[in-house]
């Protein structure tokens, strides 16, 4: 069964901590994405990657960075966590031009205190 795996379902971090969210896909997809989902705001794209070592900013990249050293792994980094980064984080991957849609992970609910 193909899937996208996010390393943690729930995380609680302190303000100022550096936070790593890991995402691994086993479908050999070229494209990988990080979204955050907040009530009333929908899914907002943080960063995406079309290839290894390649990254592009999405709509809300401030305060985040990413790393894609291997095709199957896409990491989201919060350089210095803040309370306004408390959210549900969703990783997704897709193949080619995206006709077959995204496969999402189960999400990581991050709380920054």
């Amino acid at each position: 069964d193909v899937k996208v795996t996010q390393s943690s379902r729930y995380l609680v971090k302190r303000t100022g901590e550096k936070v790593f969210l890991e995402c691994v896909q086993d479908m050999d997809h070229e494209n990988m994405f990080w979204y955050r989902q907040d009530p009333g705001l929908g899914l907002r794209l943080i960063y995406f990657s079309y290839d290894v070592k390649m990254k592009e900013k999405g709509d809300i990249p401030e305060g985040y960075s990413v790393s894609r050293e291997k095709k199957e792994r896409f990491s989201l980094i919060l350089e210095s966590a803040s309370t306004n980064q408390t959210s549900m984080y969703l990783c997704a991957s897709s193949f080619g031009q995206g006709y077959y849609g995204y496969t999402f992970g189960s999400g990581t609910r991050l709380t920054v205190v």
């Binding site: 077959y100 496969t103 189960s106």
Partner: protein, 111 residues
Amino acid sequence: TQLLEQSPQFLSIQEGENLTVYCNSSSVFSSLQWYRQEPGEGPVLLVTVVTGGEVKKLKRLTFQFGDARKDSSLHITAAQPGDTGLYLCAGIKNTGNQFYFGTGTSLTVIP
């Protein structure tokens, strides 16, 4: 400003009723998709529509892509409690691999 607007935002209905969810934009999309998300999980793809005017059926769910490829609708017949969830539309433009997501419709079906 959201590229795709969904309506209604919230919907609570009795089991057995019919409902329609709308996804509207001023932009043209090369394809549009519908996802359902259950609490605590990531969205799961339901359908992809590509051709203007296209209609696809998935059991009790009927999806339609507008003729101008700017809008879509999801109709559920005889809703069941298992249909409860957040329904998201997502469109992709002719250029790029990025999907733009709608604001979502939260559906609750009461037994």
